[in-house]
Amino acid sequence: MVFSYYPGCTLRTKAKELDRKARLAAKELGIELCEVPEWQCCGGCYPVAKDEIATKLSAVRTLMAAKEADRPVVTVCSACHNVLKRVNDDMKNDPVISDRANRYLQNEVPYQGEAEVLHFLEMLRDKVGFDRIAEKVTKPLTGRKIAAYYGCLLLRPGKVMAFDDPENPTIIEDFIRALGAEAVVYPYRNECCGAYLALEDRDSVKKKSSAVLNGAKAGGADSVITACPLCLYNLQKCGGEIPVLYFTELLFEALGLE
């Protein structure tokens, strides 16, 4: 299986381990990830306003590269995934945005949202299958109690992301179980960690992130996993005792990679 791969700015810098372990785990599962040539930063957050066009163009370029290569584009970072999927939805379903973006890019053949955008977890669930991943596990995480932290970016808006049930998701819990661990379901797993308020108000972030970690702890979790570098940062900076890891770190470990 071959996919286009969009790492995004943070996986190239502060979250190198998220990137490295995702690539190695994919390889072990027989998946080839081909990096999108000359990719640009997605901008970190989807531009919500109807009249924001230029800020969507870098995402459109990535989507067009995936269409060109005739492969789904896979991302690991929740934020990149949110931006790419929502911009793709605009290109498909919002004629005004789509028309204006295509004019900016002077596309001879207009891009109309033909690419398929997948989060790495969706790729594992829908293209590989969690049962097959379970077969590939050589070091099952037996006895570990792991809490999945979804945050907001993977799930919302539910209709566009179509990632899982936005109020009662199960994909990361199913992933945890496939690796042989026990999944802890707890309150606040799909509420916001405080996001970019990290820059100007750490106390506010601490309040929001502590609610998440306290919920996980009360549920008996020994670690929390996430797909988002900013969630990881915010949860870790809370100073709780529970380790916060990327989901790819667990996969890497369970596949027996070193």
Partner: protein, 128 residues
């Protein structure tokens, strides 16, 4: 800008129809930044409808919204309050000299673990 134009701008760039709101308050009930806001998500909805845009523009509440979309997902009437908040914020920062975050201020806000994602997102949310 006059009040009427401001209201039109906010409605146009948000794409929201505040008249769909049935004032249930669910958006504010679910907002993670509720405690830190002077005007709450449901207030944005009716204040925009009433053309009271300037008090919203002057309020720090516009920098407290995390665009987490909880209010959008859980609104029983598909009003999408977060899009109104975004539109009010843009109406402010698109004006000359109104950036909420200036590049010079950033180095002091960083630590060595801060992901790039936080910076690019904040620059997009707080500056034009």
């Amino acid at each position: 800008m006059e009040q009427k134009n401001l209201k039109e701008t906010v409605l146009r760039i948000s794409g929201v129809n505040p008249r769909k709101c049935m004032k249930c308050g669910k958006c504010s009930g679910t907002c993670p930044s509720y405690d830190e806001m002077e005007f709450h998500p449901h207030q944005f909805v009716y204040m925009v409808e009433n053309g009271e845009i300037e008090p919203l523009m002057a309020s720090k509440s516009i920098y407290r919204c995390l665009t987490c979309f909880a209010c959008v997902e859980r609104c029983p009437r598909q009003v999408e309050p977060a899009k109104l908040i975004e539109a009010v914020r843009l109406t402010v920062i698109r004006q000359q000299g109104q950036n909420h975050l200036k590049p010079d201020a950033i180095p002091a806000l960083l630590d060595e673990d801060m992901p790039q994602q936080a910076l690019v997102t904040a620059m997009r949310k707080y500056a034009k």
